[in-house]
Subunit: 213 residues, 4 copies
């Protein structure tokens, strides 16, 4: 009766739903286009019946949106932990750049997230609508990176004369663009490896108090 909304805690989720989420994420990680993922593929890979999907969700879009929300949460919590285990802002930025370079399917997942979040399709709307709820707020990039920045400001590492909101966007967009340069370097002959030190320095220059340059 009551359908999954995407706001459940991991422990509350029926195992079959988790299997579906995993299936969606695997497919994305393998490079499948969101629109190319079918319900049969999801349930087939999840090892459940096709009808079962509709016991838990109303539409395919709901399935995908909830899977995205779920993995954004997972990813957010994981990165948050790792970021707060770092010593200082520089190490944090390096960690993030390293993450982006990992040749796992994560690159695809991350790019898809960005595309969905900045898209204007109905599906994008659905996902964003699920994101703007108190339960999810702490997983928004603005929250995660916001805390990192505020921690840095408390340490005296990061400048205080710019709004946190701006600083977060400054970091997130540079990371996104770095990722974009990585995935398009083959085609557009971009030297992403050569770009990295400039990006790294660029972020530090803009955000930190002591310009090292």
């Amino acid at each position: 009766m009551g359908k999954i909304t995407g706001m459940e805690r991991k422990e509350e989720l029926p195992p079959k739903v988790l299997q579906m989420y995993r299936a969606v994420m695997e497919l994305i990680a393998e490079g499948e286009d969101l629109s190319a993922i079918s319900v049969s593929t999801i349930t087939g890979r999840a090892g459940i019946g096709k009808g079962t999907a509709y016991d838990y969700f109303d539409t395919k879009e709901e399935i995908m949106a909830c899977a995205l929300i779920f993995y954004m949460t997972e990813f957010s919590q994981s990165i948050r932990t790792k970021l707060f285990a770092c010593e200082g802002f520089e190490e944090q930025i390096n960690l993030l750049l390293d993450k982006l370079e990992e040749k796992s399917g994560k690159q695809h997942c991350f790019l898809r997230f960005v595309h969905v979040l900045t898209g204007n399709s109905e599906f994008s709307d659905l996902v964003r609508q699920k994101m703007v709820c108190p339960a999810f707020e702490q997983n928004l990039p603005l929250s995660v990176f916001g805390e990192v920045i505020e921690q840095g400001q408390r340490n005296g590492e990061i400048r205080r004369d710019l709004p946190t909101e701006y600083l977060v966007y400054a970091v997130v967009t540079r990371l996104s663009t770095y990722l974009a340069s990585i995935v398009t370097e083959e085609c557009f002959h971009v030297d992403s490896k050569g770009l990295r030190p400039y990006i790294f320095r660029g972020i530090l220059e803009e955000l930190t108090v002591q310009k090292k340059l």
Copy 2:
């Protein structure tokens, strides 16, 4: 007989092809997912028969890719002209920021372009493949912004100690930041207007010779 390749000049294009291109772009501007745009929709909106599409193109993907290429070219040439009519780098940046604020469907189109170019579907490959040809090279962001930057360097406005590639990256990244803040502001309650001066100043600080503005 000979099919459209996407490399034609505007004047060479049959009117029905232009109508199709316009239809594609309108649909994208209205928020339709690329994969949700059907040939029937395109031809219906273009006011032509469905079969006609296949007189000019081999596949739906070709239609869409050529439409994208066409509008990227249009946009690139338009912005190039406007940029070179500006007096100085500051005015150029302001022009670009103004452009991004225009509440036309252009914002979403531009974002879709970015999504396609950073995607890894076969369609993305097709579009990128069309972009890496001598005829299109001058329309690549790297070319357009590269020339702006080199002009600025010749004027003595812009620093010469960083590779052009990176300086382009720095500009594009921040423009993306602004665009992302605009399209997500409704949902994530971001104050994009308030962000603009910071972005403006950030670009100038990083690129121009006189850092302390």
Copy 3:
């Protein structure tokens, strides 16, 4: 999941598949050109949804090929049983000639089978490929008629100085003659009825030991 291959026994076939087979055969019997038979027509006549066809088969060609194989098997088994219930070679030939005269759509179906088997389209290849498997071998004309001939040779009815392959050929050719005369008689004003005794005597003269009938 597992698609129909055409090698199933009749009892194993889902009812909807049998309905499809029947629909195909009816359409052929009605004179429809094989290439003019559409999936919609088949499923429409079978009284099932169009999509259902693709639950059981991968392509339209598979549907048609399996239907053909199915009815060839049916026909072969039926004729084999009837042939071995006959007393002597003469009765067998008369049975076959009677069969050919039956004014059911079977005549046309049989001719279509021959056309397909001697065609050189991809569809012909597909059907032939399905026929050259151990499971189907016993249904090949060479098998059915070969056994009849060998039985006749054991009885001392049929000559032993010519290769079985040729004797089969001799019978099949004359049966074809009769069939061809029947189906073209209306148009070319052939008197097929009048031809029959000559064909009958021709077969016996060439194959049986006592030539001078």
Copy 4:
């Protein structure tokens, strides 16, 4: 205005019509399925505009039927000449068997003719309807082979106790079956070369007065 009917003499036919006929026959000779031949393909190969086809014919079926009729006439006249240049019935049969073995596209053409003439589709009806007119009568197999047989009978080579009609069918069907054995030998492992002498002898035995065996 007045469309082509298929009953024109070669000299009366506009060159573009001849080009279309040639195109059709080439395509068949290349193994193309009749139903796979499109009007564009025909006109393209004929080097004429697509609309032109409809100046001369009402439908695609008319084009194909007339082309078939035309080449059957050509073929019939050519074979008639060659047959009457032979010395005796044996040489005539050998000529025909040689023809069938020629690895030219003729095999395909001949098989298609047989399929069309023995089919029961609307297209078959159309072709047959064109064949039963006084102008074409002399080109019917029954005429050509009938004359050969009657010549043989006058020579005293061929028996006179069977109706000519039967003898013609007996020859034609054996030839058709020989052709069928040739085209299917690869798939069904028939030894057509080995069969030939038996077929040759079989025809002579059945038709000629002096059984040589």
